[in-house]
């Protein structure tokens, strides 16, 4: 399984804090997004927002970043701390 979590405005837009995905057919972040859209078509435009950031196991990633079973994948808006 792959644990997917959402933060801040994105979590509110999706009305979802997180979800578990079957790792089959998933080898990078782009695949994770595709799997999410497949089960939640209404998320498509939100997840396609180019400004969205992603991380795998607490490190920033991009569409090509590898994802394996057991990984934690996060999606979130650009950060605004400090």
């Amino acid at each position: 399984m792959i644990k997917v979590i959402f933060f801040a405005a994105l979590r509110e837009q999706l009305n979802c804090g997180g979800i578990e995905l079957d790792a089959e057919n998933i080898s990078n972040i782009a695949h994770v997004k595709q799997a999410l859209v497949k089960t939640h078509p209404q998320w498509q435009s939100i997840l396609e927002n180019a400004a969205l950031l992603s991380a795998v196991n607490h490190d920033m990633g991009n569409a090509q970043t590898p994802v394996n079973s057991g990984d934690e994948v996060a999606f979130f808006p650009p950060v605004t701390g400090g």
């Binding site: 933060f7 801040a8 996060a74 979130f76 950060v79 605004t80 701390g81 400090g82």
Partner: protein
């Protein structure tokens, strides 16, 4: 230099509080307020090598983008936040000769005038401490996974990242 900050490694579950003390730096993500005096005292205690202590603290201010701010709600990504701040601190240590570094960031509900963030750096001379404190804040602003929801008289809204912060950090490259 003593290997720091007398409080031992401390993680308080359920309080959203984590303190990591190692290699002369300290990171704390916490709900509770902090005392500038206490933080400076920790940076200085048994530290006679460093002549410079630079601190920055950020507070909730009353206006943003024309809105009247009443407070902020701060969310973060536990685990990634600490990892990201560790990386920023390590990068700073590569660039300058630094003594001790403390980074504190509060989370949860904060009101007008409350402290949000603290960065403290010591070094032998002032140039390194000034530069490192600014560097750490600049990268915290664009890399560390914190998000602010603003509570204003006009309503609640998540803050948008600002290009000015991105450009500021790029100046260090």
């Amino acid at each position: 230099m003593k290997s720091l900050f007398s409080p031992p490694l401390l993680v308080v579950n359920g309080m959203k509080n984590s303190v990591n003390t190692s290699n002369n730096h300290r990171i704390s993500i916490q709900e509770q307020d902090f005392s500038l005096n206490d933080e400076v005292a920790l940076l200085e205690a048994d530290n006679y090598e460093d002549g410079a202590v630079v601190t920055f603290s950020g507070r909730v201010r009353n206006k943003n983008l024309g809105l009247n701010v009443k407070g902020l709600y701060l969310e973060h990504y536990p685990g990634m936040t600490e990892k990201s701040l560790e990386k920023i601190i390590e990068d700073a240590k590569q660039r300058w000769q630094l003594g001790r570094i403390s980074v504190i960031h509060r989370i949860g509900q904060l009101y007008l005038g409350e402290q949000i963030v603290f960065v403290g750096v010591t070094s032998k001379h002032r140039q390194d401490a000034f530069a490192a404190a600014e560097f750490i804040m600049d990268f915290l602003k664009i890399k560390a996974p914190f998000w602010k929801k603003e509570l204003t008289e006009e309503g609640e809204n998540w803050l948008e990242a600002r290009i000015i912060d991105e450009n500021k950090a790029k100046q260090w490259k």
